[in-house]
């Protein structure tokens, strides 16, 4: 009797020990290093979700690259939506602070991006809720940098940081 009780107690202790190691490490990894996410919507066609609702792409989100809020023009990034904090949106960075953007459908024709902000747009203009609707977004809302498409397997690729031509009016002089 005593022997089997001892076995249960040892197993329980080992389980608790493993649990308190594995869960914080996994949560920290998913929050700080990288995670995966499924992309919904058509705002980034044709780069992401070209098949529409038939097949959603799954992308690798890299938190480590944006830990110092360093992004380049052309990067595809995920950020907290400024209009709905419960939602994350995925868009391409068009302009950094100091740049002047020629907008599409914004109330001002030309916008200078303020300090600490970026201008993001979806590749599918007209079907995208982006900076043309809500203006420049603060870098503090930046969540991750989408680096690769992981699924479906035929779309396995590295996402390039390509700036669509003629989106940017004037680049800021700093480098």
């Amino acid at each position: 009797m005593a022997q089997s009780q001892g076995w249960v107690k040892r197993y329980f202790k080992a389980f608790c020990k493993g649990f308190f190691v594995a869960v914080p490490v996994a949560v920290t990894f998913l929050d700080r290093v990288a995670c995966v996410a499924r992309v919904e919507g058509a705002s980034m066609q044709p780069s992401l979700n070209p098949g529409g609702s038939q097949s959603s792409d799954v992308v690798l989100l890299n938190h480590w690259k944006v830990r110092n809020f360093e992004v380049q023009r052309g990067d595809i990034v995920s950020l907290v939506s400024p209009k709905n904090p419960e939602q994350k949106i995925i868009k391409r960075v068009i302009a950094l602070e100091g740049d002047i953007v020629r907008t599409i459908g914004h109330k001002n024709r030309y916008v200078k991006v303020p300090r600490g902000h970026i201008w993001v747009e979806g590749d599918h203009h007209g079907h995208s809720f982006d900076s043309n609707s809500f203006g420049p977004v603060s870098l503090g809302l930046l969540h991750a940098h989408a680096t690769h498409i992981l699924w479906p397997p035929e779309r396995w690729q590295k996402l390039e940081s390509v700036l669509p031509p003629e989106r940017l009016l004037v680049q800021s002089e700093e480098e």
């Binding site: 400024p82 902000h117 503090g140």
Partner: protein, 166 residues
């Protein structure tokens, strides 16, 4: 002997990673101790006071008017600001000083909050940079632990007239 030293190093690294991850989870999902600097929240929080901040309200979206929050600065994501929430989305905010003759109001947009420091004369807040997105809020400050003469839950705003009354 080398194997002993290597084993010890690995164990040390393992413990560091483990406790680092537990600390990250605690700060991110529960709360932590914060030291505030600057005069913008006087007399409620003075320079170099140490307070306790909780992050549960942010995750459950239960930040209310009158709460003191820590948020990322909209113009510098690496620094934090500590202000009181005056208005939530949809609230009507007085954007000019109450002593001005021509008052102007504006509405806080969806997904944003309006922040003001308690020390209205010496605070750079939403009156300067506009409403900030809710996603920038990091946590809610609710308890002061230093100096001991001021230990306890934090006072209500001394600027009650700034809150909308509808």
């Amino acid at each position: 002997m080398i194997r002993g030293a290597l084993g010890k190093t690995f164990r040390l690294v393992g413990y560091t990673i483990q406790y680092g991850c537990i600390a990250h989870c605690a700060f991110e999902y529960v709360g932590g101790v914060v030291m505030c600097s600057g005069p913008s929240m006087e007399p409620t929080i003075k320079n170099s006071d140490i307070v306790f901040a909780e992050n549960l309200s942010r995750h459950f979206y239960s930040i209310q008017r009158g709460d003191i929050v820590i948020a990322k600065s909209p113009s510098d994501p690496k620094s934090n600001i500590c202000k009181r929430v005056i208005g939530l989305e949809g609230d009507k905010i007085l954007t000019t000083s109450s002593s001005d003759f021509f008052k102007s109001h504006s509405y806080v947009p969806t997904g944003h909050v309006w922040l003001e420091g308690d020390n209205l004369q010496n605070s750079t807040d939403s009156r300067y940079y506009g409403p900030i997105p809710y996603g920038l809020i990091r946590g809610r400050i609710f308890f002061k632990i230093w100096p001991l003469s001021d230990f306890g839950f934090l006072r209500d705003s001394p600027n009650g007239h700034r809150f909308s009354d509808d």
